[in-house]
Amino acid sequence: MKNKRRFLFRAGAVALLVLIAALMFVIGRGHTVYFDNKTLEYQGQAYEAPYRISVYVNDEQVAKLGKRERGMSPWMGQNFRMLLEVTKEKGGETTAHSVRMPLPYNMDGIILNLPAMLAGLPPEAYLSEFVQTAEPEAPEDESVVTDEFSDEAFMEAMEG
């Protein structure tokens, strides 16, 4: 009886930890969101980039984008919220747009084309995955110092 209770208690504790870990995977999933203020052509129609877009995330200005510019902001979770202040032309009136949208869980970096989004196009038109295309030139292997008594560590210490 006592053993059974102990087993149940332990199994419950493990299950609780697994549950909390799973919850952390959902609420803590981080993304880097990139904002493009670039003219987009979709189904034969061009969506012009406005003169300036200011992007606010969590009440903080994270980007002020002119035409053909890109900004970025980290975001935690799948429900992305931002405020856009759009100035269509130089000296023109500024309009504010509050945007809420779900982010795909499997993407680390997400590019949002703001002119297409503001035009009300579907997500497949304005949302794409950020893929690092330009590999850094011939990556050099960094030397890993794991032993405090190694020659490298000694030389490093000598060089200060």
Binding site: G28, H31, P74, M76, V145
Partner: protein, 378 residues
């Protein structure tokens, strides 16, 4: 006559109090000497002390439980630190940000810390009376396994996706892993600033929670068993306590708490030195605890707070004071490293001397009792 006896008694009490607290008193004097010379403003010093207190206290508190169980200073806390680091590396690679990332890293560290603590506890049970040196060497042994996992298995056997974490050769973890998305998220969770001094309220709440847990734990059956084992293993065994099991549990608890402490420590730092973050942590935590007036067989929560304040105050002011006195800040640097190792050495020597003195007093008492018995028989 009575008055002079009382005076003598008070004098010897003061002398023994001074002797018992010689290390903290020495550090207070060093700090009192160095602070004005260093030229730091009180505000700066307060900010630094509060920040370092939040960063280190949880780790140092993890040392209390093995001391309670008579296992001395747990140099094996490094094992927990390694488990915490593995948790953080994985959480970073899975792109779990902020406090959820920290919680996930802590959860990942639990089974690793438990397993390492179990191994460590079992080995320490085979080396009773030599726990400290054994745990010190175990930390080196497990460091080799940690390197095998992190340097060769991560990226090849354990999937690692991001090239910012992985070495360019395709497997192994880089020397430094950025924790920018977790940096000071816990410290800044409840923002509070008093006269320009930033207080990491949430971190202190966690520390307070651990203090309450330790106080509560001491009163539980297991806590009482640990204290009994710490006082006398033979008597505890005669009383029906499973000594070996109790000792293993104390080491496992310490290792798991050290894993949590390392996650808190690294979220404050904002980056992780994959191959060296854990190597010195045990030494500095133990030194801080000893500076607070703890000994190998007795440590309290008060010792932790006093120790972390004095030790880190010296860490902050010594280089500047050294630079002001000698014109070379490296002198202060050498001084603080020298002092932290010296404190551990002195504490170990004092403990061994005390143990030997007690042993010889006991032997002397036995001899006198025997002589008296023989005289009575005659």
């Amino acid at each position: 006559m009575k008055n002079s006896k009382m005076k003598k008694g008070a004098g010897s009490r003061a002398a023994s109090l001074l002797m018992a607290n010689s290390v903290p008193i020495m550090f207070v004097l060093i700090c009192a000497f160095c602070i004005p010379i260093s030229g730091f403003s009180p505000n700066y010093l307060m900010n630094e002390i509060v920040n370092r207190m939040g960063r280190n206290t949880f780790l140092i508190l993890s040392l209390l439980i093995p001391i309670m169980a008579g296992m001395g200073l747990n140099f094996g806390m490094t094992l927990g630190a390694m488990a915490g680091e593995i948790g953080l590396i994985l959480a970073s690679d899975w792109q779990i940000f902020g406090i959820p990332g920290m919680i996930l890293a802590m959860i990942i560290s639990i089974p690793i810390s438990t397993m390492l603590g179990l191994i460590c506890g079992k080995i320490l049970n085979m080396a009773k009376g030599r726990e400290m040196v054994t745990s010190y060497i175990i930390s080196y042994f497990i460091n080799g396994i940690y390197q095998l996992v992190v340097l060769y298995m991560m990226g090849s056997v354990i999937p690692i996706k991001h090239s910012s974490i992985k070495l360019p050769r395709g497997y192994g973890i880089r020397n430094t892993v950025s924790l920018i998305n977790m940096r000071q998220k816990l410290d800044n969770l409840i923002p509070l600033s008093i006269k320009g001094v930033r207080i990491p309220v949430a971190t202190f709440l966690l520390v307070a929670l651990l203090c309450v847990f330790i106080i509560w734990f001491r009163r539980t059956k297991l806590g009482q068993d640990m204290r009994a084992v710490g006082q006398d293993m033979a008597v505890a065994r005669d009383a029906g306590i499973n000594v070996e099991r109790t000792r293993i549990i104390s080491i496992i608890m310490s290792t798991v708490l050290a894993g949590f402490g390392m996650v808190i420590y690294l979220q404050n730092m904002g980056n992780l030195s994959t191959y060296s973050s854990h190597s010195q942590i045990g030494m500095f935590c133990i030194a801080a605890l000893l500076v607070g007036g703890a000994s190998v067989d007795k440590a309290t929560i008060g010792n932790v707070f006093l120790g972390v304040t004095l030790f880190h105050l010296m860490f902050i002011v010594a280089p500047s004071a050294g630079a002001a006195i000698t014109g070379d800040s490296m002198i202060g640097e050498y001084f603080r490293v020298f002092v932290s190792y010296a404190v551990i050495t002195v504490a170990l020597v004092m403990y061994e001397t005390k143990k030997r003195r007690e042993k010889s007093q006991l032997a002397e008492q036995l001899r006198l009792d025997q002589a008296m018995e023989e005289a009575n028989e005659k």
